[in-house]
Every structure is written in structure tokens, then in C-alpha cells.
Assembly symmetry: C2
Homo-oligomer: 136 residues x 2
């Protein structure tokens, strides 16, 4: 069912410092910061040959990652995102096995303009899991 690891998301307290760390320190190619006000985050993409790291920082009030950063002031790994080709089939399969989908259970349009769902970390070994629907 799941395909590629689309990204690993890391919440960071200072986006400029984190960008420098990944570019100058680790020698990776990083994007310019992108504000996503409808998602309450600013994102920097670290482009790796096989996947990407998304550095996230809260944007605006009521950012969904503000609480995470308050609990983890140094930052930390926030979620992993797996690709699926049929997000509704994936959701229904997982729900039938007792996994909990966050929110109202309906896919939303995520940071990449594609349908996404989040699965409860308590059902996935303490790991917040995002599913993103990609073309088959």
C-alpha cells in the first residue's frame, strides 16, 4: 500500500540557522523558505537524491506545530510522510484495522497541493504518520 517515503519533517526553532546547518554544515541543497499560511508553517526543503527533509517553523497564530516546539525547544523529528496512490482506500483499510485518522477523517489538501491525512501517533509506534496521495 505505502510507496515512497515522501519526506521526513523536522520542526526547528530557527529556520535560517537550520538551513545553514543543512547547507553549509551537511552540504545539502536547500530551498528558500516558503510561507504556507494556510498550514501555519514556513518550510525549507532539503533536497536529497532519494527523498527530502522538510524543515518546519511555526507561522502565524495557532500554528499546528507551535505546541511541539514549546515541548521541544531545540526542535525535533515531527512526522514521516508515506506516499499512497489511493488515499481513501488506504484510510478505509487502516480504519478497518483500528487505526485512528486525525481530524474529521477526510483528506485535506496538504503542503504540496495533494490530498493528505494524518494517522494517530499512538497507533504507529509513537510516530506521527502522514499519508499523501500521489499519481499512480
Amino acid at each position: 500500500m505505502i510507496g515512497r517515503l515522501n519526506h521526513v519533517a523536522i520542526v526547528v526553532p530557527d529556520l535560517a540557522a537550520a538551513s545553514a546547518l543543512y547547507s553549509t554544515g551537511l552540504g545539502a541543497t536547500v530551498s528558500a523558505p516558503v510561507d504556507l499560511p494556510e498550514h501555519g508553517v514556513t518550510t525549507v526543503f532539503v533536497m536529497l537524491p532519494n527523498t527530502k527533509i522538510e524543515l518546519l517553523h511555526p507561522l502565524g497564530e495557532n500554528s499546528p506545530i507551535a505546541g511541539f516546539l514549546a515541548k521541544n525547544p531545540a526542535g525535533g523529528m515531527h512526522h514521516v510522510c508515506y506516499e499512497v496512490t489511493d488515499i481513501l482506500a488506504a484510510r478505509d483499510h487502516l480504519k478497518a484495522q483500528g487505526a485512528r485518522v486525525l481530524g474529521d477523517g477526510e483528506p485535506k489538501i496538504g503542503a504540496h497541493g495533494l490530498p493528505v491525512l494524518f494517522l494517530h501517533p499512538k497507533d504507529f509506534c509513537g510516530t506521527l504518520v502522514e499519508l499523501e496521495q500521489v499519481a499512480a
Copy 2:
């Protein structure tokens, strides 16, 4: 400098349950458990098309992940591993920029039989980073 994301490691409290979650629940291909007594872990590999997830469970006394599991009884994301082609050059570059290498600073042979180093999470946005040397 860094290349592919080699793996994301997730510490889990119950390896059989986590394997079933990733195979039956998420529909991924998972390996049989592999005991690595010299590393103090038992590992299950979740094979994705572009990278892998390593599910880790403590093995034996003094497992290096026992403390993590005690703090995170439901499990959680433990580290990310980036590939490099020259681990000593990567280490020296990072140390020159103030990053701290865990342990004595010398590469050890990791779970895949290749030289690895771990970088201090406080220097990497709260994320434990493993570097693994692969063939150029």
C-alpha cells in the same frame, strides 16, 4: 556532502506488533527480525521503494536504545541516517564548524557493516543524525 537518506530509525516497544502494523496495516514489505547483539538491538527493515525504515527494539543488557524506550514507552522516531562517501572528511568538516561527534569521534562499524558516526542532536535541531559511509 550528504547523499541519500539511508534510513529513518524508529524505536518500538513490541517488534512483532510493529512489523504487523507496517506489513498488514501499511502494506509494506518487512524483513524478518535480525538480532545485532554487538549493537544491542533487534532490527526489522521496512523496505520502501526509495529508502527504508528501521524498526529497533532493545536487545540484551545495556542496549543503547533502552533509555529512549524508557522515556518514550510508546516508541518514537530515534534518528535519521544520511549517506556520505568519505566519513572522515565529513566528520572533520562538521567538527570545524563546531558540531559534536558522539563517543570518541572515531567511526565504528554500524549495523550494515559500514563505518558510521553519530552527531549530537543538540547540534542538529534536536535530531540524532547518523552518517554512514557508502561506496562513492
